[in-house]
Symmetry: C2
DNA sequence: GTCTATATCAAGATAGAC
DNA sequence: GTCTATCTTGATATAGAC
């Protein structure tokens, strides 16, 4: 059957055959549009144009706008999550160490990446029920800290400060230089590191 | 002239004449729609219906959607700002005390009000350049803390944690009970109060 | 000053050619 | 699998009656 033939052709490495739409390239375009326009002109046309494909091709790859937003958010969250896990090596996911790794990863990303992730928040407005990936991530990070123990208080506070500057800046509520942002993260890191060393 | 007559009739207390559209009622409706729908069905029709007026009447009162969003945000920010100022009485706007008053006011508001304000963030996506009121407020609050002095570090950190839980919760990234939210704010308040008393 | 009815336009989604 | 062209919807904004 030529259907099966087409399938196998698709899965192999094709240098000569018709190009397939690169999902990552599309997601980059989507994030780029959101980042630059702040969400107002976050339209399928804009994404397609930026990705250098037609709207039909875009819609074929991501059947709905929700699917596009979900994929963009999911990619961003899992990328960050994997980077955090990598820092922990094969150690178990101990709550305080998880927070420390989270902060360290945030410190390592440059301002542009931070901004990029923050503006994904904007996308949520277009598809508010698509934030499950982000919710899962934050739950793992924050839930263990919502108990009432003293040290958890401190770590929770540090984590919230990190997210606070991240969101305030990303949403455009405050203008904060990269240096000031970094200074906040370093302070938070100090606190968590101290708590960890004192145990 | 009957034009002047109509004007004076409008300005006086009219019990019998045709009612004038209550701007606050409209803004309440706008916030209600945003709050319940998360911004997706934040449409003029929805606002008009909720306010119990026609779309024409709505558009007459707020000529554009941007004007509506701006007014809603401005009202919310100035309301909060005035409440904070009231706490300070006639004292000058000393940075640390300002932060303390900000936290105290946030503590006094119930969860619903907090959520309401947080979801106004959603409205910003519809009119991103309308956030000047919020930016002004945050600038006054945060800028004095961005210096490098040690005490400012601590106060800044506390403030950011407060805003962090506020935004994470308001945007739906984490599910936090009212009690947990309050606990975070109380911890932050403790820190700022201690810094103030130690000076 | 407020309402009804409508023009206008843009965006998400579809159908069919290649 | 991707593209062009089109359909459909729904939302902003306007025009004109009351």
């Amino acid at each position: 059957m030529n259907y099966a033939t087409a399938q196998s052709e698709k899965q192999g490495v094709c240098l000569t055959r018709k190009k397939e739409i690169d999902r990552d390239r599309v997601l980059d375009a989507a994030e780029g549009v959101i980042l630059e326009s702040g969400g107002r002109t976050f339209t399928l046309d804009a994404v397609a144009k930026r990705a250098g494909i037609s709207k039909g091709g875009l819609v074929y790859t991501f059947p709905t706008k929700d699917a596009l937003v979900r994929a963009a958010l999911e990619r961003e969250v899992t990328r960050f999550q994997k980077a955090v896990r990598r820092r922990l090596g094969d150690r178990p996911l101990e709550p305080f160490e998880l927070v420390l790794a989270h902060i360290d990863e945030a410190l390592d990303e440059d301002a542009a990446t931070t901004q990029k992730a923050a503006f994904l928040v904007t996308a949520l407005v277009h598809a508010p029920d698509m934030m499950e990936p982000a919710r899962r991530y934050y739950r793992a990070l924050l839930d263990p800290l919502l108990s009432e123990s003293g040290a958890a208080h401190e770590v929770r506070h540090a984590l919230l400060a990190v997210e606070g500057i991240f969101l305030l800046r990303g949403l455009g509520f405050v203008e904060v230089s990269a240096a000031e942002h970094k200074s906040v993260l370093l302070h938070a890191r100090e606190i968590v590191a101290r708590v960890l060393s004192e145990r």
